[in-house]
């Protein structure tokens, strides 16, 4: 393994310098540069021949996430928006955005492996190689990247601290998630805490790192983290709901996951109705008909509306955090637009790359 991996270089927007009254343009330009930088990094020319193909397996999901018709890719967009909200210089968050993108893609790989998925972009890598990538990348790449861009020692220490704590918090959420697989009972409060610990903490970490890199103190960085935490948690709850309404196949039911609507149903039902749902959930791992019947039961006892309500609670918390932050009005408008943006195009309009 090549232990001397050079830090990547980051372009300075090719002369397209933003101003405070152009947050959308500045974010769009910085987003494009972040995607390009992340692609170059994943291209891995600095890495040895052993790691290069492993890094390449992160490119597949990246390509899926960064198209205008898809929701904004939060790991890249959050750091840019935070930095813009702090000093109007979204492009200066490029290293944090790339580090966040690497973290997200590495966690995504881990998540897929744990779900037993088989992605076409993994081929011809073996499971052993994929496990090596999932174990190594989140614990090394963001740190290496961020500590290689000449940050002041105090900022670097704060970032390193935030990363360690954030990774542990995310791992805690993931561990709870795994422990709940195929469970015959799931406490909705615990499931929501697991989502917050996993997805909320992940987005919170990206925002916190961007704020710390901009020189914010712990309190202000914590507020930015709260803003992103709420968005991440609400988004994951929404995504879990969307999975159940997929017209073809629920991946969560197939994996035996106990997402919030499912947990609510298991918690609310008792007696024969609960036993029937458990039988359906077991069959739903392999049968579409059983999935549809299970979804009807979950819907019928209010699991969907409950999860949608809880999702809104986290959005409200995010909005409250944003209200407490000092931020130029034009940037505040853009930041406030993020939760409602169904696509990158919704957020950045014609500027979306």
């Amino acid at each position: 393994m090549n232990s001397e991996v050079a830090a990547p270089s980051f372009p300075v927007l090719n002369g397209r310098l933003p101003t405070d009254d152009q947050p959308t343009m500045a974010t769009a330009a910085a987003f494009k540069d972040a995607v390009d930088s992340l692609r170059r990094y994943i291209g891995g020319t600095e890495f040895g021949p052993g790691l290069r193909p492993l890094l390449a397996c992160l490119a597949g999901p990246l390509d899926q996430h960064v198209v205008p018709e898809r929701p904004p890719f939060l790991p890249l967009i959050l750091p840019l928006l935070v930095r813009g909200g702090i000093d109007g210089r979204a492009e200066r968050a490029l290293p944090v955005a790339v580090a966040s993108g690497l973290l997200f893609l590495s966690f995504d790989l881990l998540d897929d492996l744990q779900d037993g998925d088989d992605r076409r972009w993994w081929r011809p890598l073996s499971r052993g190689e994929l496990l090596l990538a999932a174990a190594t990348f989140p614990a090394t790449l963001p740190q290496r990247l961020l500590l290689g861009v000449g940050l002041e020692a105090e900022v670097a220490a704060a970032l390193s601290h935030a990363l360690s704590n954030g990774l542990l918090e995310i791992a805690e959420g993931q561990a709870r998630d795994l422990a709940g697989l195929n469970a015959s009972y799931a406490d909705p409060v615990a499931v929501e805490a697991s989502v917050a610990g996993k997805s909320g903490a992940q987005m919170g970490l990206y925002a916190r790192m961007a704020a710390l890199a901009a020189g914010s103190g712990e309190d202000e960085a914590g507020q930015w983290a709260s803003w992103a935490h709420g968005i991440g948690t609400a988004g994951q709850l929404g995504s879990d709901l969307q999975d159940l309404l997929d017209p073809v196949w629920s991946r969560d039911l197939a994996a035996g996951a106990r997402t919030l609507p499912i947990a609510f149903a298991l918690h609310s039902l008792d007696g024969d109705a609960r036993s029937e749902l458990l039988v359906l959930l077991d069959a739903a791992k392999v049968e579409r008909q059983a999935q549809l019947q299970a979804i009807e039961q979950i819907r019928g006892c209010g699991g969907m509306i409950f999860a949608a309500f809880r999702s809104r609670i986290h959005l409200v918390r995010s909005e409250q955090a944003l209200e407490r932050l000092k931020c130029p009005p034009a940037w505040r408008t853009l930041l406030g637009r993020l939760p409602a943006a169904q696509t990158l195009h919704d957020l950045l309009g014609a500027e979306a790359p």
Binding site: P188, G232, A234, G235, I305, L315, V316, Q342
Partner: protein, 65 residues
């Protein structure tokens, strides 16, 4: 509001058509009249739920991840 109260509220929503109609017209007033005590953030969250929508539409608005 305690979790158990939210669960009762959801159960009522699912099983009581008259309550559901009132909630669709005036959610905050209905909840208050029925003795549910919502926190400030719960009230705001409830206001953001368009209860006239289908589950699919609710999910579409909740899903941006």
């Amino acid at each position: 509001m305690e979790q158990s109260q939210i669960e009762r509220l959801v159960e009522r929503w699912m099983n009581d058509p008259e309550f559901r109609n009132r909630m669709r017209t005036a959610p905050l007033e209905t909840v208050a009249a029925e003795g549910y005590e919502l926190t400030d953030e719960e009230q705001q969250a409830l206001q953001r739920l368009d209860l006239n929508q289908s589950d699919e539409a609710l999910v579409r608005h909740a899903n941006f991840a």
